[in-house]
Symmetry: C2
Subunit: 229 residues, 2 copies
DNA sequence: TAGTGGTCTAGACCACTGA
DNA sequence: CAGTGGTCTAGACCACTAC
């Protein structure tokens, strides 16, 4: 059996974890490591490239590869469809369409999505339920110039998120996580007290430079977004 | 100039964005694509592998490569050191050590970190400031059995986070994001009202199976964690 | 300017798994 | 059981940049 890039990566990680390779120290170059491990340079390259992507080491041409002083802790969080998130918990999924209105984009929205003044948008509010209990509040604005088919879509049958995701590719996304205090409307819908701290994700999506949608997802009290690595 | 994996990746992404490759559709196999692009199969492989890592396509042996029905199931967030986060905003960093106590792990903590009953831990509370204003509250517990040197460390000079990160390699981390209501202590420290919604990250860290530390980072009101892709 | 990583190539073998 | 992706190899050229 030949030496795989996983072997190399695991060994390097182990050396780092055991302290044999300390933060800031220089690793041998790819050619030397390949010789030491008895594999091709490409194999070492892939191992080290992945370690660099994960923020464990830092690579620079000519300067070589070093163990990072402060490993860049970057976490990957899964952003599942609400339906899947709920069903994964073994609960029954259901959603209600609370609001559907066609209007000219308010100024704040036009600003956030770089829309022409007065652009027509579709505003949808949706409540996603787990076993009948409020789970997530979805407040969405769709740029109708970019997605004209949304005008006639039946969002009572399929939630706006799933509808968009199944229909449109994407090109660029921005996600912003924060904590918000429940206002009266949110509190009423999600069944919590006004002022309660709620977890929110705001997502803006573009397709080839044109804004498609802005959505604010607010989870019920106590929601956590977790990841391990 | 030869065809690079970036060229291939960009072209595939473009086809997906333009709708030529719709969600769920099957892409040609690597050999065919290599022929079409006039490059080696390894080049196509790298392009498609990266698209798969990014959640754009889904690859299965024998079944081939498909455009994902629900793209982008994951987002990467950077978890920088507070100091860097603050300095990146052009503000002056400073921190105060508010509490330092040595004690036996309370039950809830022993449970969370899988510690032996009565294990000795170091409890630290630290306030990180940006231009003098409260920015982030750090509430940390360190397992002294795993990190005995922490007993004598000067956390007034270097914050606990930076101290640990510079000294210890990593092996396993769990991060959990949530929204919490400010209790009296947090409100006082961060200079907000009691009950205000605050963004929190809780992180547990292990080194080769042994729990090192549990930390709760709570940001000042209005903090957002943002990522783009 | 020399040494490092970045990438491509052409060929090969293999593991997996869906038709 | 045949076709797909997964990976390794050996060699090559090149871009970048620290020295």
């Amino acid at each position: 059996m030949s030496v795989t890039f996983r072997d190399v990566k695991a060994d390097l990680l182990d050396r780092i974890a055991r302290g044999a390779l300390r933060p800031g120290s220089l690793l041998p170059n790819e050619t030397d490591l390949a010789a030491r491990y008895g594999c091709a340079r490409a194999t070492v390259n892939r191992a080290m490239r992945e370690l660099a992507e994960e923020g464990i080491v830092e690579r620079r041409r000519r300067a070589g590869t070093r163990v990072r002083m402060a490993p860049v802790r970057q976490a990957r969080f899964a952003i599942p469809l609400v339906r899947e998130e709920i069903e994964a918990q073994g609960a029954q999924y259901r959603h209600d369409l609370l609001c559907r209105e066609l209007l000219a984009a308010p100024d704040w929205l036009a600003g956030r999505l770089e829309l022409a003044p007065g652009a027509e948008v579709l505003h949808l509010v949706c409540l996603h339920r787990a076993d009948g209990m409020p789970y997530q509040h979805e407040d969405r604005w769709i740029n109708l110039a970019a997605v004209p088919e949304a005008r006639g879509a039946d969002f009572a049958a399929t939630g706006p998120n799933e509808w968009l995701v199944a229909r449109l590719p994407f090109s660029s996304v921005e996600i912003s996580l924060s904590a918000v205090a429940a206002d009266r409307a949110l509190a009423g819908t999600l069944g919590c007290a006004e002022g309660d701290a709620l977890f929110r994700a705001e997502r803006r999506t573009w397709l080839r430079g044109a804004a498609i949608t802005l959505v604010r997802l607010t989870w019920r009290r106590g929601h956590r977004m977790t990841t391990r690595y």
